[in-house]
């Protein structure tokens, strides 16, 4: 079986080996392309879109088996940007990895303070951090899963009163746990409170805004505080105060659902409940969904189920989550027992 993507529209095809080297026309965009001679179809890949060149894409669904996790490889850059950025043109050996579910791959990397690996994504993301001797990690309470004995844990209020209060308004705890690798390197595991994903961002002076409760942990050098959003926050449904992370260091944040990265270049609209984080370089305002007539817009606002949305403009990255806790709560509400008198 050979897998390859159309160079111009990225439609994926799977064809039999006997067609190797043949020229075919893409069914979607009529691009002429050559089927690569040898492309590995890895077995742990889902039988993605089995689009035979002749027929419509029909496929049986794969069983929900856990995909074997690839062994951790240190990569300098997070690899899940593939979603937002343009996928590379036809590279037979890379098709399955670039296409197949970039969000289930492990993320790993090394910085001056630590090396990290985020595994079990996107459903049950677990962060493993190897901390250099003498370095510190600041984390929200109860995020720690395990640690080696060489790591010292200290709970306390970090930063001044104003900063702490800001964090509190931003949906975080007053208390910050400080993990220090004393004398020798240590290893700590962290996980979020709910089933979901963890994202990583290296801060080099830029500023990131995080949704209420999304903050997880950071290294020294990153400053996390609350930022008053005013009316935008009120109408956007994200809370009046967003968390603001800035400085130089590593930042980890988490969410319910998987996290997708989108690089905004030409305006992007996100349902306000699905925003996890965004870069400060992006401008946002709260609006309604675009419609043809103003009457239609009002109808969409009240009955379209999306309510108000956030429109981002400028250049920068936004992280969105694929599920919302509130929808789950609304669903489970039906099953609550009736109050007995």
């Amino acid at each position: 079986m050979i897998q390859f993507d159309c160079q111009s529209c990225q439609k994926r095809y799977k064809v039999g080996d006997e067609l190797a080297g043949k020229k075919v026309k893409c069914r979607e965009c009529a691009q002429i392309m050559q089927i690569p001679v040898l492309a590995e179809a890895d077995d742990d890949d889902e039988p993605l879109i089995v689009a035979q060149l002749a027929g419509p894409p029909m496929r049986p669904q794969p069983p929900p088996t856990a995909r074997p996790q690839p062994s951790p490889i240190s990569r300098p850059q997070p690899a899940f940007a593939a979603l937002a950025s343009q996928r590379p043109p036809l590279q037979p050996q890379a098709t399955s990895s670039s296409r197949a579910n970039a969000s289930s791959k492990n993320l790993s990397g090394t910085t001056a303070d630590l090396s990290y690996e985020i595994s079990q994504r996107p459903d049950f993301a677990l962060v493993r951090i190897k901390l250099q001797a003498g370095r510190k990690i600041l984390a929200e309470p109860s995020a720690m899963v395990s640690m080696t004995p060489s790591v010292k844990l200290e709970a306390g209020i970090k930063g001044g009163l104003g900063k702490t209060f800001g964090k509190l308004l931003g949906g975080e705890s007053l208390i910050t746990n400080t993990f220090t690798a004393e004398n020798e390197p240590g290893e700590i595991m962290f996980a979020g409170g709910s089933a979901g994903d963890v994202a990583y961002q290296r801060l080099e002076g830029q500023t990131l805004y995080l949704q209420r409760g999304a903050y997880m942990l950071n290294t020294e050098g990153v400053e996390v505080t609350g930022k008053w959003q005013g009316a935008k926050g009120f109408f956007g449904g994200e809370g009046l105060v967003l968390l603001k992370a800035s400085g130089y260091g590593d930042l980890f944040f988490n969410s319910y659902g998987a996290i997708l990265e989108v690089d905004v270049t030409d305006g992007f609209i996100v349902d306000s409940g699905y925003i996890v984080a965004f870069e400060e370089t992006l401008d946002y305002h709260v609006t309604v969904l675009p419609g043809l007539r103003s009457g239609g817009k009002i109808k969409s606002l009240f009955f379209g189920g999306e309510g108000l949305v956030c429109e981002f403009s400028g250049f920068g990255r936004v992280w969105i989550q694929t599920r919302q806790v509130n929808s789950f709560l609304a669903w489970s509400n039906v099953f609550r027992p009736a109050k007995s008198n």
Binding site: P60, G196, A258, F268, G291, F335
Partner: protein
């Protein structure tokens, strides 16, 4: 339209890429994010004008919303991210003129060539199949996007196939189903926790989900604060 499913199977989101003029109809509230070049229209009609209040009401009974959101791209290569409310997977089903019967709440989106309507499967099935009273009937040609609670499996039924109630996502209408008991005796079936099962016969595709929402709800219910 092109589609891509991300973060499968539990947190799946569908990324749809539409060209100028193409449009897709989505379940209300399904939109996660989108590019700027879309017009959104909320109506109770199918795209193109058929339907209306009666169809909207029927849809409501089928577990869907009275309203539908139509997204029409106004410039090329616009992307739309959609996802369901619950944990679970998303599949694509190409409609080629046949009919697919979808469990209420599993319909997520469809292109404009697909007509969606509610259908009644009979009083017995309504009460005991563990699904809704009405089903969503999809006909026409185009792309259909369905979601599930848990992962989705597909079986090509040829002959007979038994599935526990509450697990059906969708089936082609070349299949017939009737309710039956799981074991030999009715009491044994109920004690075994399976109760009534759905027995499919005929030839066609059947999609089912690995988890069923009522079971999960019953597990959660006692732990929640009374309302």
């Amino acid at each position: 339209m092109q589609y891509e499913f991300l973060s499968r199977p539990a947190m799946t989101a569908a990324k749809l890429t539409l060209d100028a003029g193409e449009s897709i109809t989505c379940e209300v509230g399904a939109m996660i994010a989108m590019s700027r070049g879309f017009n959104v229209e909320t109506t109770s009609r199918n795209k193109g004008g058929s339907g209306g209040i009666v169809k909207g009401l029927k849809r409501m009974f089928a577990g869907e919303n009275f309203f539908l959101n139509h997204f029409t791209a106004t410039s090329p290569a616009q992307s739309l991210f959609i996802g369901p409310a619950m944990l679970g997977d998303i599949i694509h089903y190409p409609m080629t003129g046949g009919t697919l019967v979808v469990q209420g709440s599993s319909w997520l989106a469809s292109t404009s060539g697909v007509e969606i309507d509610a259908t009644f499967q009979g009083i017995g099935k309504a009460l005991f199949s563990g699904e809704g009273i009405f089903w969503v009937k999809c006909t026409g040609r185009g792309d259909l996007i369905l979601n599930s609670f848990g992962a989705i499996h597909c079986v090509e039924v040829n002959g007979e196939f038994v599935i526990d109630s509450g697990h059906i996502v969708a089936f082609e209408d070349t299949l017939e189903f009737r309710l039956g008991k799981a074991g030999k005796s009715l009491i044994g079936s109920f004690l075994g926790g399976e109760g009534l099962v759905c027995k499919f016969s005929g030839q066609g595709k059947l999609y089912y989900q690995t988890h069923n929402p009522p079971s999960f709800g019953k597990l959660l219910g006692p732990k929640l604060k009374p309302r």
